[in-house]
Amino acid sequence: MAKYLKQDDLGSWLKELGKTYKVIAPVEEGDAVIFRPLTDERTLRIDRQATQGPKGVLFPACEELVSFKYGKDPEKPEKVTVDIQETVDAEPTLIFGSRPCDARGFDVFDNAFTKCSVKDSYYMARREQAVVVSLACTKTETTCFCNWVGGAPDGKGGSDVLLTPITGGYLVESVTDKGAALLDSPLLSEATGEHTAEAEKLLAAARESLREAPDFKCVPEQLYNLFDNMDFWEKQAAKCLSCGACTYLCPTCHCFNITDEQQGNQGSRIRSWDNCMSRLFTEEASGHNPRPTKAHRLKNRVGHKFCYFPDMHEGHIACVGCGRCIKSCPVALDIREVVTAAKECRLPEEETADD
């Protein structure tokens, strides 16, 4: 059952929800739009895609996993002891204003962090307490390709509530039971047939505005076929700078590093986002590196998203088509072009056979 929220009541609704949840929403920060705790001093910006998605709310760019403290045993002063404590920082959190592609990113995280034999207790603690209110896209950008990878401008995956902007306000639909509880507010009224018809018309236009989705069924097999074809990968990676902007802005990239920091007799074990486009990502202590060039690393990044991850997670592609990696790439490397080239690349032996 859908509801209607007047534009003028959005602020009051968020204030009301703020009594139960810490509300995180896209706000202006310089020229960028970033997910931050919503306060009176900050300006909400939901009229355009955020510069960076909300993955950091559930998977912070940097967080303490364990704190430690060195001490002396009073009984045996010559003996140094170590006291360690786990740190889990989780509270009821509402992520407001994510786009359907970003919300689908949490589906990828759920697969990676909660459905394997070992589960990430830090992500799970936050995910369980989080509720995601997404905003459907009635306008798309040239870099958007959610429809290529199983999404849509009004996709519901990963969201608990979906808002669609219509005249004077929003059509509000609950996706999960967790989301339904949020609709129980006197600020929302029953949606009318006109409201739903208008939303459907806008969304149909948005879907229509996206480039037609190519058939990606053969991509995993083709990526395996191309694994040893370094000429192909070197050509694809030629302009890559290995800067890693694509991974940090990606709503699905979840690789991380663990490092220690110590000051005096105490410190922290820190987890931080890592970047598979960096040479050091796989360099071993012996100096051996299984991915020594940027071509090897791009191959792994594309392979992980379109081949290895689907292999591990029932065909689920680890790309949501948000297009940030294209929009923010300093050399305009376009993952759509790489995957399409892989899909269409004929293997040398096939070419020879045809000649």
């Binding site: 996993l65 364990v66 430690f68 060195y70 003996k79 140094v80 002891t81 170590v82 360690i84 786990e86 889990v88 989780a90 990676a112 962090f113 394997c116 034999s117 070992v118 589960k119 990430d120 207790s121 830090y122 799970m124 603690a125 369980e128 307490q129 395996y224 694994f227 040893d228 979840h254 690789c255 991380f256 590093n257 663990i258 490092t259 220690d260 920091e261 110590q262 410190g267 074990r269 987890r271 890592d274 598979c276 990502f281 796989t282 360099e283 071993e284 202590a285 012996s286 051996h288 299984p290 991915r291 090897h296 792994n300 392979g303 992980h304 081949c307 290895y308 991850f309 292999d311 591990m312």
Partner: protein
């Protein structure tokens, strides 16, 4: 809220004994501080663990003791990077963090009733020692055991204080080799794959297990194939840079296989199916 085990939280352990194996390898025998946990601790031969020096970091090492001798957990460490250098500076009685057991293990159940050939090079003998001791302690479950263990010089062989015990096991052929002649050395001289070909163990009802530097593994695999070993009957352990050790950080993958959970033990047949990215 669901309370699940924190996979990143190490357990504190105390170093009980340190053995200087070679000029750059030390063995650490450690015991978990929580007595009950130590009593309940279970692992399989070939599984690995992460050792922590708080303030420096963690690194992965095989638990090279055997579950049949649970007085301590043993790790052998070659000094290579920052964590290993700091591990080498430890004194007996010092505390370290341990996250273990992690990863898969040697298929010792499937190997029962078969002959076993173990081919180890340098520090690569560490994981093989686990399997060897396990088989010695369950001697009647296995057929003939051939161990070919080599290093550059006699001084680079670890566990030399145990060679007598290994050699004394029933139906055992222990072959030691070094790359060049050395004073007082009365064992084999020559590269491991050549010695393997010279020993020429029968592939009939036999499983081969190898570990060592990548170049040694490469030529040992070729030698095993030459001797007629099937891909399914050859096992090796892989080394990759690891961080989390539990299949979450996304670093040690070969295609869709994570070495820290799906490995470190792979059959040669399994490796053939993975992308060529060693």
């Amino acid at each position: 809220m669901t309370k699940i085990k924190n996979p990143y939280l190490p357990e504190m352990a105390t170093v009980k004994e340190i053995i200087q194996e070679t000029h750059n390898i030390k063995t650490f025998r450690v015991v978990l501080n929580n007595e009950q946990r130590m009593k309940d601790f279970k692992f399989e031969p070939g599984q690995v663990g992460q050792l922590s020096i708080f303030g420096v970091g963690e690194s992965t090492f095989v638990i090279n003791s055997t579950p049949t001798r649970m007085d301590y957990l043993q790790f052998s460490v070659m000094a290579a990077g920052e964590v290993t250098q700091r591990l080498h500076a430890l004194q007996e009685g010092d505390e370290i963090g341990v996250r273990a057991p992690l990863g898969n293990w040697f298929p010792y159940e499937k190997m029962k009733g078969k002959d076993v050939v173990i081919v180890g090079g340098g520090i690569g003998m560490a994981p093989l020692r686990t399997l060897l001791l396990y088989m010695i302690d369950n001697r009647d479950d296995y057929g003939k055991i051939t161990v070919i263990y080599g290093a550059r010089t006699p001084q680079d062989l670890s566990y030399s204080y145990e060679f007598e015990e290994w050699a004394a096991a029933k139906d055992m052929n222990l072959v030691l080799t070094v790359d060049n002649e050395a004073p007082g050395w009365d064992h084999k001289v020559g590269l491991i794959p050549n010695i393997l070909l010279e020993e020429s163990p029968s592939p009939e009802n036999t499983v081969a297990v190898t570990c060592g530097p990548p170049i040694m593994i490469k030529f040992t695999l070729q030698a095993l194939k030459k001797l007629g070993f099937e891909d399914e009957n050859i096992y090796t352990t892989l080394e990759k840079r690891m961080k989390c050790g539990v299949g979450l950080c996304g670093r040690c993958n070969i295609g869709s296989s994570y070495v820290c959970v799906d490995g470190p033990v792979y059959s040669f047949a399994e490796l053939q199916k993975l992308p060529n990215e060693l």
